[in-house]
């Protein structure tokens, strides 16, 4: 296994991977917050070529048994009708399967129906829960996935994926903001989502009820904290206006 890895990493280092058509999902460009210009009028670049897609889809199907490992990638290549070394097109090896899972899950988030829910809070809760339940088929192997995501070389990329999930949540919840709370909203959902992922690992309740409750509870706590901050700001500004008025009236009296 270790020899496998050694061969793989040196091969990718010496440019064995395709040089053209970089895969945006695997790009190493660290632009942590940036999501590039999106427009419905222009087609988006596909994340994967058809060949890559078929290998990764087959590999992901083997994950419940083999885990997020090189072995699953090898099986994926074989199932898709390629030789074993075809996996060299993925310079990040097993992490490519993790990313494929993240990318496809995020795309499936677009199909979550939230238009029947009234408040933004309800929509956010539903979106996070539905997204986290997409981890269900691979949940027994998900510890490995998290370990791969936390590897220093993958960390920046994984955080970008996390941000994309929370960005997608607020986008689907039809929450539009142009202020600084754009950042705080996304940060809070990212925090809740990643905490829930860890919680889910040891959750044995049917249908992951406990995880769902955990998410709802965390979102309530978020709202409570937000309410507290808003109240303090309101109290401070009211007092500021009062004190100006007091000074004014004292001054007028002489």
């Amino acid at each position: 296994m270790s020899l496998f890895k050694l061969v793989g990493s040196s091969a990718s280092k010496y440019g064995f991977v395709r040089a053209t058509a970089p895969n945006p999902g695997c790009s190493s460009g660290i632009s942590f917050f940036s999501r590039s210009f999106y427009s419905a009028q222009f087609p988006q670049e596909p994340l994967y070529t058809t060949q890559e897609e078929s290998i990764l889809a087959c590999a992901l199907a083997h994950v419940p048994k083999l885990g997020f490992t090189d072995a699953a990638l090898v099986q994926g290549c074989r199932d898709a009708g390629y030789i074993d070394s075809a996996r060299m097109v993925f310079p990040r090896r097993e992490y490519a399967i993790v990313e494929y899972h993240l990318n496809t899950s995020r795309q499936r988030m677009m199909e979550i129906e939230v238009s029947n829910l009234k408040t933004v809070d309800e929509k956010v809760a539903k979106l996070i829960i539905e997204r986290i339940l997409m981890n269900r088929p691979v949940i027994r192997q998900y510890t490995d996935a998290l370990a791969l995501m936390a590897k220093p070389s993958n960390l920046a990329n994984s955080l970008q994926h996390l941000h994309k999930i929370s960005d997608e949540v607020w986008w689907q919840a039809a929450d539009r903001t142009s202020d600084f709370d754009w950042y705080t909203k996304r940060a809070s959902v990212s925090a809740i989502y990643s905490a829930a992922e860890l919680y889910m690992l040891s959750d044995s309740s049917p249908d992951f009820r406990d995880t769902q409750d955990f998410i709802k509870r965390k979102l309530e706590q978020r709202n409570e904290a937000k309410y507290a901050v808003d109240s303090v700001v309101e109290w401070a500004s009211t007092n500021a206006i009062w004190s100006v008025n007091v000074v004014k009236s004292l001054w007028l009296r002489g």
Binding site: R35, F37, E45, R176, W182
Partner: protein, 186 residues
């Protein structure tokens, strides 16, 4: 369907919307600051400021809409732009009518040039009648013209009588250029 945008085009549009949104937020609050002073001290001037302010509010709303539609993050320093812009507007207004007009002159000079440069890039890099781009082009053009109109108004209202004129306008211009540079990145 058109072809996908190139990375350079996407990057430019991302930057354009972010920096212009921050800029219009600043403009909105500069006039807001000036108006909140002049409505007490100079009743004659207030309606003129109010007119310019309302145009800036419209610009800001337009860029807020674009920022949300195209899923671009707002500038990270939004709270700082807000505080700086309001302070700049209010403090120049407290210095008097001429100083406020000098501030407008300086800001609009930089912004007019900035919009002009963006418009030039858009015309050069998007062929005529590219889907969805004509809207952005005509919008930038309209906003540039309105900003330059504000510049004319400022000069007509004795902006060059401000003392110290040179120091005031050059400082504000340098500040605006610095803010544009930072807002494009952060």
């Amino acid at each position: 369907m058109a072809r996908p945008l190139t990375k350079a085009q996407k990057d430019f549009l991302t930057k354009l919307i972010r920096v212009d949104q921050a800029g219009e937020l600043g403009a909105d609050l500069i006039y807001n600051g000036q108006h909140s002073v002049f409505k007490r001290t100079n009743k004659k001037l207030a309606p003129l400021i109010h007119h310019m302010w309302q145009q800036e509010v419209f610009h800001r709303q337009t860029f807020n809409r674009l920022q949300n539609d195209h899923r671009i993050r707002p500038s990270l320093l939004t709270p700082i732009w807000k505080a700086c812009a309001f302070t700049l507007g209010a403090s120049t207004a407290l210095m008097g009518k001429e100083a406020a007009m000098a501030c407008t002159e300086a800001v609009e000079t930089v912004i007019g040039g900035h919009y002009n440069a963006q418009l030039r890039w858009l015309v050069e890099n998007f062929p005529k009648d590219t889907d969805g781009m004509e809207e952005i082009k005509s919008m930038v053009k309209q906003f540039r013209d309105e900003e330059l109109e504000h510049l004319d108004i400022a000069i007509e209202n004795d902006s060059n009588q401000a003392r110290p004129y040179w120091l005031l306008t050059e400082t504000i211009k340098a500040g605006c250029r610095g803010a544009i540079f930072v807002a494009e990145k952060l």
